[in-house]
């Protein structure tokens, strides 16, 4: 009988909490969107599945050994943990969790040793998170792979499209202001670092968003990553109304001059030029843009095909699997279900919309005052979300004039948007994180 009870208490049914059930439904919803609707499946399938696993009651897959010990609830262990954390031995689990999250490195280590001695271990997803994201390595490796897949040809043929990549980052900074404002109004409660991390959602670049929030606001990483990838998938729905509202039919019909051929050498030199500019001006962006430029140089130099191939395939795929599961670990109910999550989701879409609008408006300005015609529709591609945003520009161009192919023209601002949001990330980290 005793054993039956023990078995029953070890089941999930006996330990389920409503939040966990809700988050498992959220995970299933993400999988549905990814599989049926094709929303960024490469990331949302692992994130969604990781989110479900993180919320399995009693398994503690998303918790560290110390957290698992506190959730375990054995009074003796709790007392020892409290001593290790310098807290009152009679405090509740919740208070201990708070003490743990604010403990210094030394106390944290002591508490972890107590937990391990009592037989508790890091959950699987927590281990993945520590190795892949807390170390910063997974987003950087993915950025290297993205670099190895990026063709800067269209951008080099028309460098002015970099301005569009800059303009679209306005969404990032406007959102920071929004987050700070909401906090000032008492609606939400975000620190400046939180606000900066949330703003990066507007960069429409998954690895950049994850990297910045792992540095500035690890607690918000779950909602930020989910928002970034979801809105990137929603680009074909979010952008067109804004683009149509801000442009006239005549503007959408503007035919752009064909791009010149860019030589191999220019493509080889570009990542080095970009890296050196980063070295001179923005060291805080060096990890992200350095790895990006490294991937791109490997691709363009043509002498390390083996490495390029691996960076584009096996390495980025392996990293994507563990990055996705690690992000999923942040969808654990007691960290994700928070009023701030709603705020992040709302601010994220505002950031996207402002970025799209800024890109289009600056493109209009450049068309008015520039010497060569520039179709404002390609401005929206500056938010990045490669290559979806460029395809949206192309589609709206074809709607206005069935012979007006904008795809290659939009690829310039599109990859400029990747560079732009990595630059914005560096600025954020150097202004806020220092």
């Amino acid at each position: 009988m005793d054993n039956l009870l023990r078995l029953w208490h070890s089941t999930g049914l006996a330990q389920f909490e409503p939040g966990q059930a809700f988050m498992i439904l959220v995970g299933i919803a993400l999988l549905f969107l990814a599989i049926r609707k094709g929303f960024e499946p490469l990331l949302l399938v692992p994130i969604g599945f990781g989110g479900i696993m993180a919320n399995i009651p009693g398994a503690g897959l998303a918790y560290s050994a110390a957290e698992n010990a506190i959730y375990g609830g054995d009074p003796q262990v709790l007392a020892q943990m409290a001593t290790a954390l310098g807290a009152n031995a009679l405090e509740s689990g919740k208070a201990l969790l708070a003490a743990l999250s604010q403990a210094g490195a030394a106390e944290h280590l002591t508490a972890t040793r107590v937990a391990e001695a009592a037989g508790y271990a890091d959950g699987m997803l927590h281990s993945f998170y520590v190795v892949a994201i807390a170390s910063g390595v997974a987003p950087l490796v993915i950025f290297m792979g993205v670099g190895a897949m990026t063709d800067f040809g269209p951008l080099l043929a028309n460098p002015k499209t970099l301005f569009l990549g800059a303009a679209a980052q306005f969404g990032i900074f406007a959102t920071v202001l929004g987050a700070v404002g909401l906090t000032a109004l008492g609606v939400m409660d975000f620190s400046l670092a939180d606000a900066a991390a949330i703003g990066i959602i507007g960069g429409a670049d998954g690895p950049t968003a994850i990297y910045v929030s792992s540095v500035l606001a690890p607690d918000l990483l779950g909602p930020i990553a989910v928002a970034a990838y979801s809105y990137m998938a929603l680009v074909p729905l979010i952008q067109p109304p804004i683009m149509r509202a801000l442009t006239t039919e005549a503007e959408r019909r503007i035919v752009m001059t064909q791009l010149r051929v860019v030589s191999r050498r220019e493509k080889i030199v570009f990542p080095l030029v970009l890296l050196i500019l980063v070295a001179l001006l923005l060291p805080a962006a060096a990890p992200l843009l350095g790895m990006f430029c490294f991937g791109n140089l490997m691709k363009e130099c043509g002498v390390v095909g083996r490495l390029t191939d691996t960076a584009q395939n096996a390495l980025i795929n392996i990293t994507t699997i563990f990055l996705g599961l690690s992000v999923g670990s942040k969808l654990v109910a007691d960290k994700f279900l928070d009023i701030n999550t709603l705020g992040i989701l709302a601010l994220g879409i505002v950031a996207f919309a402002i970025g799209t609008a800024s890109g289009v408006l600056i493109a209009k300005l450049m068309n008015r005052f520039g010497s060569t015609p520039l179709n404002p529709l390609i401005g929206s591609a500056g938010v990045s979300a490669v290559p979806m945003a460029a395809r949206v520009s192309n589609k709206l161009g074809l709607e206005a004039d069935p012979h007006n192919y904008l795809l290659m023209h939009a690829m310039g601002p599109n990859v400029a948007g990747v560079v732009g949001s990595a630059v914005a990330a560096g600025v954020m980290i150097s202004l806020v994180g220092g």
Partner: protein
């Protein structure tokens, strides 16, 4: 540093950086097309970089696969 300042300095830095990149990239492109036109061919990765000892085996296998595929293709199954 508060929100407004962060926004001003942030978007300003991004704009300055990317503007500089426009200038430098345009200059580099012009310099390269003028002084280093693509005359000498770049060394292309030699096939030998792939593991030489297995290359033969792979080729043979590939040829076999292709031969089989062609056969099936001709047999009209597809």
């Amino acid at each position: 540093m508060q929100g407004v300042e962060l926004m001003v300095f942030g978007i300003g830095s991004v704009a300055v950086f990317l503007s500089l990149l426009v200038v430098v990239t345009s200059l580099t492109s012009r310099l390269m097309t003028r002084y280093f036109p693509e005359a000498e061919p770049l060394p292309v990765m030699p096939r030998a970089q792939r593991p030489a000892p297995v290359a033969g085996a792979e080729d043979a296998q590939l040829t076999a696969v292709i031969a089989a595929a062609i056969h099936r293709h001709r047999a009209g199954k597809h």
